[in-house]
Symmetry: C2
Subunit: 317 residues, 2 copies
């Protein structure tokens, strides 16, 4: 095969991960660049293409690369654009012809989708959702994203933007401001940022002793996790609350597509039972009788970086 490799790119709010992948799904080479140091998308794309060329050169050069698959927030599969991505420093209120810009620079075909959709493809092909034809992948990272698979196909919808479950309502009235411009989105509660925000709000509201008071200024979801594992009561309640909110939302997602499972993916999914238990309890409490205790909630079985890179790369074959 003249061009035996594809490149998978996973664009996150902070980091962009790049991998060279062979036909068997092995990530041969991997690197990353920062996503958030540029305000101008052209400068970011310069950085990105440089990193892709450097990585490709380790396996024989760009002429060995058949295509590039990109997973990006607000990425549109149909048009190859990134549109109004609030979590990207160079996203803003623009329609960026991302696939075309990269393709023009590197001279290979570029296919682009939502980062969560890419992860769903990765999980279906190599991970926890192998053999499943109906599942929903939820990414719990900086934001909350989703990839919906129905009858073995990712749902793109009429316009290419289906599966924005992070921006469905967790709270209808007086909900938290979300980055997307709406209020009350589940992303504002169950993302890494949402978890830290819950902890900070609760610390401010009461005098309850908590290990988290020491890190208040720079409190992250990781701090909350570590405090909860250490037995901190407030931190544990933050996870219970987050899980409750997620479970409520999941019960609505199930009513939509009746999936076999919901796959949790991303940084916060590493919280394990601390999150899983309240999610399951809350989802089952809010499901119609016909679904109670029948919908599996499982964790991604791929390394986070691999899943997104593999998923993105699978688009490029």
């Amino acid at each position: 095969m003249d061009k035996p490799y594809v490149v998978g790119i996973d664009i996150g709010g902070q980091t962009s991960k790049i991998g060279v992948v062979d036909a068997r799904g092995t990530v041969l080479r991997q690197s990353s660049i920062r996503s958030d140091t540029r305000k101008d998308v052209n400068l970011y794309i310069n950085d990105l293409c440089e990193a892709v060329i450097k990585l490709a050169n380790e396996v024989g050069g760009m002429e060995k690369v058949r295509g590039i698959g990109v997973g990006a927030p607000n990425g549109n599969y149909y048009t190859g654009t990134i549109e109004n991505a609030p979590n990207l420093t160079w996203g803003g209120e623009n329609v960026i012809p991302f696939a075309k810009l990269v393709s023009d620079k590197l001279g290979v075909r570029v296919v682009l989708t939502n980062d969560a959709n890419a992860a769903a493809v990765g999980e279906m092909t190599y991970g926890a959702a192998r053999g499943m034809r109906n599942f929903i992948l939820i990414t719990l990272g900086t934001g909350v994203g989703s990839g919906i698979v129905i009858n073995g196909e990712v749902v793109y919808g009429h316009d290419g933007f289906a599966g924005e479950l992070g921006h469905t309502a967790a709270v209808r009235y007086n909900g938290r401001q979300c980055n997307c411009g709406k209020k009350g989105c589940i992303e504002a509660y169950a993302s890494a940022i949402g978890v830290a925000r819950t902890a900070r709000e609760w610390l401010e509201m009461t005098d309850e002793p908590s290990a988290l008071r020491e890190v208040f200024e720079e409190l992250t979801s990781k701090d909350v996790y570590e405090a909860a594992v250490g037995g901190d009561a407030l931190a544990k309640r933050v996870f219970e609350y987050t899980g409750k909110k997620l479970g409520e939302s999941f019960s609505d997602f199930v009513a939509f597509s009746a999936p076999e499972a919901i796959v949790l993916f991303g940084g916060l999914a590493r919280s394990g039972d601390l999150l899983l238990k309240p999610v399951e309890d809350s989802m089952n409490a809010n499901l119609m009788p016909l679904w109670k205790n029948k919908i599996k909630i499982i964790f991604s079985q791929l390394k986070e970086s691999d899943a997104a890179i593999l998923g993105a790369s699978a688009l490029a074959w």
Copy 2:
């Protein structure tokens, strides 16, 4: 053709409609029976089969009938069962092998699905959704149902029960009790029964003058509609409130499958602009920027009885 006809059956909470349909989608004969006079499903099926045979005899007998398609609440396409249907007097907490029972009695193949899924197929084949590959049909009748079409296919999900959007949360806490056992479902607010309930609650809460006070005891959504058309301020606000709730829910449905349109179907959909305007305003207020003012809300273009019968019958070819 030896067997030139199919029979479509639409089972509603109160009435079951039966039609004999030819290959061009013409409803040749139509009749109906009550759904709600029997507690025992076998007695209901006796009534139903009698009515089917009677109708078939008008076009040459059951030997002319190739198959029967049934649209029923909680109908499962995969298994042919009706499961835990709270709005059917003979539904209750049972798994009824409905397709088999009817098939055994009449000696023809019986295919069954959710009544709303059947309506979606009817609408896609003959109605407002012709040519659309991604849309959501919402039935606003005794209950609130939905048929979700993605890439031209009805979504059945892993277990055959996908598309229960009437039982997603309109209100998360202290919501109204719904027939399904949950609280706060959109069905408890935006069904015909929900509309009447809103009116009754508001009449009880205040002394505001309203034409609806005269019919309080037996108040129906039709009364509310007529009062609103007549200028009754409270009745108009009931429609605004109902539309607001529906629009909020629709914004979440759009985030799921990014449909080209949402098609309103059923008794309450006949309320026209009285409902449409607040639904559109509320949906757009709650959509992510990328979808604002881009999702069409349209009314069914088929007579209600025809759509469900045609949709159900289409399953039987």
